[in-house]
């Protein structure tokens, strides 16, 4: 089987990668492009750890083939903001200690970004619905919901 070349936009930058067409996007992002914030959780679309945005919509990087992402725009946690220049979502998660081990957070933050883009003023129920495909084993759920609400407020105030 032969590797093929795929072009995609990742965090706003044009990238060309070489991989077998069925290679899961997660390995391309982590190992070829060095975006280690994309987390392997289950490979089964059951936990949400690997969530990235593909053309603005949450997608499972563990199961989506690179071939299916060709030409698309991908955003990972590294594109959201940096620790020293955080996005309001990242800032709110740090402010509220909204996380314990933190393994679920990259996927949840990406899902939250997509939510706030579509719905800048979500209710608690809207957030719960958006995150129900995401697991958090440490039990930081209520803080995560509060952090997304805080970020929505901050972003709304500055919009």
């Amino acid at each position: 089987m032969m590797s093929e070349t795929f072009s995609l936009t990742v965090n706003g930058k044009a990238e060309t990668v070489s991989a077998l067409p069925d290679t899961p996007l997660i390995y391309v992002l982590r190992n070829q492009l060095g975006l280690k914030g994309v987390r392997y959780g289950c490979g089964l679309e059951q936990c949400g750890c690997c969530t990235v945005l593909v053309d603005g919509a949450p997608a499972f990087a563990c199961s989506q083939a690179v071939e299916a992402t060709a030409g698309a725009s991908v955003e990972t946690i590294e594109g959201l903001g940096r620790a020293d220049a955080p996005h309001p979502l990242q800032q709110a998660f740090m402010d509220l200690q909204a996380g314990q081990c933190g393994y679920c957070l990259a996927g949840i933050l990406m899902a939250a970004k997509a939510l706030l883009a579509a719905n800048p003023n979500p209710t608690r129920q809207d957030i719960v619905t958006a995150l129900d495909g995401h697991l958090c084993r440490c039990g930081a759920h209520t803080r995560i919901i509060a952090a997304i609400q805080q970020a929505a407020k901050v972003m709304g105030a500055s919009a």
Partner: protein, 703 residues
């Protein structure tokens, strides 16, 4: 005078704990590691506070076998008292030594000096000396004495503040975990696991596996240890996914399905012990008993285990792991691979939450085996999801029967508990315990009777088996199952959860029998004012006085315990609705944890414990049959989801002058017990066996 901690007795040299670096910072080391509980942030606060330095002049190194103390494992809600207590003493002593040295140089008395940002001041003016200008004149190899008096809590400015978590910035922005730390030229690896310690590999179709990989991989085969390696992670993943179909084993595990239930335990041979008031004579009175069970449960880390290892050509082995104790990991890997531990460096890096002994140590040995076979290469072993679920040690199933003899007023006058459980701790280091990679390479060691943690450490199956209530004589019969059907080991709280569910369930039954409100009934039987205060406060914030009559599907349940009867006090109230399933409407928890280092962090632990306790109570059961565990994904092993987590109110009592009591595990048992009691209140009948699933609710409704 303070007393040396156990950690300081084991690691007396001050330079194991503290060093003053040329960049005008102090580096403080701990053997405890960050497992998502915020402990590194809290230890950092303690160090900065006691050194009178701002937080940014102190770094905290944790879990490094070269430069930190050996504090065994990060377990049992002991990190703040053990490691924090040690750091406090060492830092206080360091300040005294530095001040004495500066006073000598300045020809003044130490008491004439004060410290601002590490600079010595005299009469309000800088002296030209600071910590770093005199630190080099002190022999830090000296043993800690504990002779310096730490600061009074009333002088604290950093301890007691919710300073930001040090680990979260990386975790919300990119690479943060051992999973992410590999160099670009890393060799990726996956393992084909041996189905049981006795299983031997009789056939492996390497050609078929290589075809399935679709790109170049190599197969490493050593006795019953099989791994797939290569530069292309997707290819080694494809190989591992295909491998079970192309491998044939002899003597694989063959477990009967019945052994996966707690009800199987009482018929098994057991190591028998009696604890407590074993010589008390039988008291006459009515006997009321309650039997509850918890099934086998998984740690179910959100990320499967991972480790990196590298062996230099001169035989030095480096390991990066998310295990709970790096010094012990080094010893265990040294023993398994017959490598002198002086030639091994083990370093902790962040991992997904483990809540006890999961696959982390095994993954580290996997990586070490492969690194030894491939000198000069950095090996990255990533466990697969089904591997984590299939091969992590499980939290043991338990059956607990609590019985009270009751006087004419309805109060308990004698208490007896029977606890049936497999062993709770099989961390490597015990000679009878072998890590997975070790059992694939060596013949199994001779069977030895299991050993649970001793009562001085809080016990294993017997953890929290003795009620804190006035009950007359108390005894516990511990039936420690000789041969567990599956590997079991430490899971958050050990036996505390089922024991608290049994005690608190029986307390509710006794209160109902006496026709007294369950909260008032307990207050009458609690003698410790701190316990009483926690119980009363929980009732106040949850609106216990508005609790309905129950029986119509709406319930409110209460439970209380002091973790290990020595750590934090915790009361939990749960409001819930029972239709076909149990829906949680609200959780309120109050804890007395003594001096709290980082209140937001401590509340985070309480809240997380509530969610995890609720998840265990309502949803979780690891099942196994035949060759092993069959609950291998999140569909067959569901945990509590965002849509099932209610609002949680967590409150800490303000007790700054009391010693810190570990808070990490205290809310788990009371939450499960409050749910059990709330369901009983809602239905008018009790469900005895966890998890309280739809099927069990329906069966209870049919009764």
């Amino acid at each position: 005078m303070s007393k040396l901690t156990g950690s300081l007795i084991a690691n007396p040299r001050m330079d194991r704990w503290i060093s003053f670096l040329d960049d005008k910072t102090a580096r403080v080391a701990s053997g405890k590691v960050e497992i998502g509980q915020g402990v590194v942030t809290a230890l950092h606060q303690i160090a900065a506070e006691e050194l009178n330095l701002p937080l940014d002049r102190v770094t905290l190194v944790s879990g490094d076998t070269d430069i930190g103390p050996d504090e065994m494992y990060t377990t049992s809600s002991l990190s703040i008292s053990m490691s924090g207590g040690s750091i406090r003493l060492v830092a206080a002593e360091a300040v005294v030594l530095l001040k004495e040295r500066a006073a000598l140089r300045l020809n003044c008395a130490p008491d004439d000096l004060s410290v601002v940002d590490g600079v010595f001041m005299q009469n309000g003016a800088e002296t030209g000396l600071d910590y770093w200008s005199v630190a080099g004149e002190i022999d830090w190899s000296r043993a800690a004495s504990a002779n310096a008096e730490p600061k009074a809590a009333s002088d604290y400015t950093i301890v007691g503040q919710s300073t930001p978590r040090l680990d979260l910035p990386a975790k919300v922005s990119g690479a943060a975990f051992v999973h992410d730390a590999a160099p670009d030229d890393v060799t990726h690896a996956r393992i084909l696991r041996q189905p049981g310690a006795e299983a031997s590999l009789v056939r492996l179709d390497e050609a078929a596996i290589k075809r399935a990989a679709k790109a170049e991989i190599s197969v490493y085969l050593e006795k019953n240890f099989v791994a797939f390696l290569g530069q292309d992670e997707a290819a080694v993943e494809r190989a591992a996914a295909a491998a079970p179909l192309h491998a044939e084993w002899q003597n694989a595990l063959n477990i009967p399905a019945a052994a996966a239930e707690a009800a199987w335990l009482p018929d098994q041979p057991a190591v028998e012990r009696e604890l407590g008031d074993v010589d008390a004579s039988e008291v006459d009175g009515a006997r009321v008993s309650l039997t509850v069970s918890r099934p086998y449960v998984a740690h179910a880390s959100l990320g499967p285990s991972c480790a990196l290892a590298h062996m230099d050509t001169d035989g030095q082995l480096k390991i990066w792991s998310h295990g709970q104790g790096m010094h012990n990991l080094r010893k265990n890997i040294g023993a398994a691979l017959d490598i002198d531990i002086e030639n091994i460096w083990a370093k902790h890096l962040h991992g997904p939450g483990c809540y006890g002994h999961n696959g982390a140590d095994d993954a580290a040995l996997d990586a070490a085996i492969l690194a030894r076979a491939h000198p000069g290469q950095t090996i990255r072993v990533q466990w697969r999801r089904e591997e984590e679920f299939g091969y992590e040690p499980l939290g043991p199933a338990m059956l607990v029967r609590a019985e009270a003899v009751v006087d004419s007023a309805g109060n308990p006058v004698q208490w007896t508990a029977d606890v049936w459980s497999p062993v709770h701790v099989q961390r490597p280091g015990n000679p009878a315990v072998v890590m997975l990679g070790g059992q694939a390479l060596l013949p199994p060691p001779a069977w030895e009777p299991p050993v649970d943690p001793g009562e001085e450490r809080g016990g294993g199956g017997t953890r929290n088996a003795f009620p804190l209530y006035k009950t007359g004589s108390q005894r516990v019969r511990h039936h420690l199952t000789e041969r567990a059907p599956i590997r079991t080991s430490a899971l958050r709280g050990l036996g505390a959860l089922p024991n608290v569910v049994a005690i608190e369930g029986l307390m509710d039954e006794l209160a109902a029998r006496a026709d007294i409100d369950p909260l008032a009934y307990r207050l009458n039987l609690l003698e410790d004012p701190r316990a009483q205060a926690v119980v009363e406060r929980a009732g106040a914030i949850a609106g216990w006085d508005k609790r309905g009559p129950g029986g119509e599907g709406e319930g409110m349940g209460f439970a209380f315990a002091r973790y290990k009867n020595t750590a934090a006090y915790c009361a939990v109230i749960v409001a819930l609705t029972v239709e076909e399933e149990v829906t949680l409407n609200g959780i309120w928890t109050v804890s007395d944890a003594g001096l709290v280092i980082n209140p937001s962090g401590a509340r985070n632990q309480l809240e997380g414990g509530c969610v995890q306790g609720a998840s265990w109570a309502l949803k979780e059961q690891a099942k196994f049959e035949g060759e092993g565990i069959t609950t291998l994904d999140w569909d067959s092993y569901p945990i509590l989801r965002f849509s099932e987590v209610p609002e949680i109110t967590a409150e800490l009592m303000d007790m700054p002058d009391e010693p810190t009591l570990g808070v990490g595990e205290c809310s788990v048992g009371p939450t499960a017990a409050a749910i059990a009691n709330g369901i009983t209140h809602a239905l008018g009948t009790r469900i005895h066996d966890m998890p309280f699933t739809r099927d069990r609710v329906m069966a209870a409704l049919m009764r």
